[in-house]
């Protein structure tokens, strides 16, 4: 019988939540790696029992774990992320050149075709690749070597590469996003890269239409339409229908177009979800109401989804890697908050309930649909 497995990374460990296809009764295991910051964990689409975990700690640095049995047991794999060649510099907060320094893995993206192939997006922003199940990592340095690399500057949260999308029809085509450099595309497996930020407007940088420097928070696509990307930027929600060559804004009637997450319904490529956040100075929902907004029209026209979500006195945030969808029918939608709640909807967002209320602050949410 089909079931789902939700993988949750928090400030103090990882949690794994499972349910059958009805998605109303949940079993929770964890904390795995209790007390340690789990930035992200994600399963292989090819072998769902293979799960990769990024554990980051100010004390003990980066550790990567792998499970080959769906999270019942873990093996520590490679944690040596060495920049290729002489790393050079990017801009620091004060505008001075700052040497590239590895800090943590923000996001792990397993290949859709090979369980041993996995990508890692790291801070300071770079893309690494492992072809041996995470044992060894090699930088795809063409990204940092993009002509703009020396001008990239961190946002307050760090210079992190947080989004990795792999075109399921062409695994050599990848899209990535960096805060605060922007979105980039490769069509040759990561050897060379092109900035894809035309159409973005960011008033917080000297040239609001610059080629790079935009604080992209998240991009998402539907696997059947990899030329159509949706973006939640620091401000503004946008879409492109030509793989990033040109973006246009679709914020429409959102109460705020600031936010972090964006995702796409598993069966409706024009149905998308965001969680508006009041502003970049106030990282909580407008009016203290936690609302997911859904558009059935690929943007511009949005409806608030509130049933089962707190509609007063709610001041949590939903971080950029903390929303996911399953592929059940109807589609399940999941997100986690900095208040430690993980909410699930088994009907595409119409109704919500909390799987759990009191976890540590949630950093990431992924979901696997299991046969």
């Amino acid at each position: 019988m089909t079931s789902v497995r939700v993988l949750v990374g928090t400030r103090k460990g990882a949690f794994i939540m499972t349910a059958d296809g009805k998605r109303d009764k949940w079993q929770i295991s964890g904390p795995h790696f209790g007390g340690l910051e789990i930035f992200h964990l994600k399963g292989s689409p090819v072998d769902p029992n293979r799960i990769y975990v990024s554990q980051a700690s100010d004390w003990f640095g980066q550790v990567v774990h792998r499970s080959d049995d769906g999270g019942n047991s873990w093996t520590t794999v490679g944690n040596e992320f060495l920049y290729d060649g002489v790393p050079g510099t990017h801009q620091f907060y004060d505008g001075t050149p700052h040497p590239w320094e590895f800090r943590r893995v923000w996001h792990l993206e397993p290949s859709p075709v090979d369980p041993d192939l996995v990508y890692a997006g790291v801070e300071d922003a770079a893309l690494f690749r492992s072809a041996d199940g995470g044992q060894t990592w090699q930088e795809l340095s063409g990204l940092r070597g993009h002509g703009s690399g020396a001008t990239w500057m961190p946002g307050a949260g760090g210079l992190g590469l947080h989004t990795i999308l792999i075109d399921p029809h062409n695994p050599d085509r990848l899209f990535i996003a960096i805060s605060a450099a922007g979105a980039f595309r490769t069509v040759d497996g990561g050897q060379s890269w092109q900035a894809i930020n035309r159409g973005l407007q960011s008033d917080y940088i000297p040239d609001p239409e610059a080629e790079t420097g935009h604080c992209v928070h998240r991009i998402a696509f539907h696997p059947s339409r990899p030329d159509t990307l949706f973006m939640q930027k620091h401000w503004d929600v946008l879409r492109t229908d030509n793989a990033g060559d040109q973006w246009h804004e679709i914020s429409g009637n959102l109460p705020s177009d600031f936010g972090f997450v964006i995702d796409v319904h598993a069966h409706e490529p024009e149905t998308i979800y965001v969680v508006p956040i009041k502003s970049d100075s106030e990282h909580y929902p407008p009016e203290g109401k936690l609302r997911v907004y859904r558009s059935h029209t690929g943007g511009n026209e949005w409806e608030a989804l509130t049933r089962g979500l707190p509609q007063k006195d709610c001041y949590v945030n939903v971080l950029r890697d903390a929303m996911a969808v399953d592929t059940m029918d109807p589609c399940g939608v999941y997100f986690g908050t900095t208040g430690g709640q993980v909410y699930a909807s088994a009907d595409g967002g119409d109704n919500w309930s909390a799987i759990v209320h009191d976890l540590p602050a949630v950093l990431s949410v992924e979901v696997q649909t299991l046969p």
Partner: protein, 98 residues
């Protein structure tokens, strides 16, 4: 035989108890002890010292015989009591709230 006390999270990572033992041939220094520890428990590589520079991670300290050795040369001999196993070499995580 050198006794090494490791902090909670590294015990979990290495699958050990609080104290582990390592063998060091030749001079017993912080470098040779940590090299031996990482050789015996490869999963600890990068968690105590930087992979490349071999510098101590900033939030860790190294103590032995009631002395803070964190800023000593990694190649300086450790106290005789550590070399003989009478006293442990301690890897300590910085205390912190949150």
């Amino acid at each position: 035989m050198i006794r090494v006390i490791v902090p909670h999270h590294l015990r979990n990572l290495a699958g050990t108890g609080a104290e582990v033992t390592v063998e060091v041939e030749g001079p017993v220094t912080q470098r040779t002890v940590l090299d031996a520890l990482e050789a015996k428990y490869p999963m600890l590589r990068g968690t105590i010292r930087d992979h490349v520079t071999r510098q101590r991670r900033p939030f860790l300290r190294f103590f032995a015989c009631m002395e803070d050795l964190s800023h000593e040369s990694p190649d300086a001999p450790l106290p005789e009591a550590v070399a003989t196993g009478a006293e442990p070499y301690r890897i300590v995580g910085a205390i912190a709230g949150g």
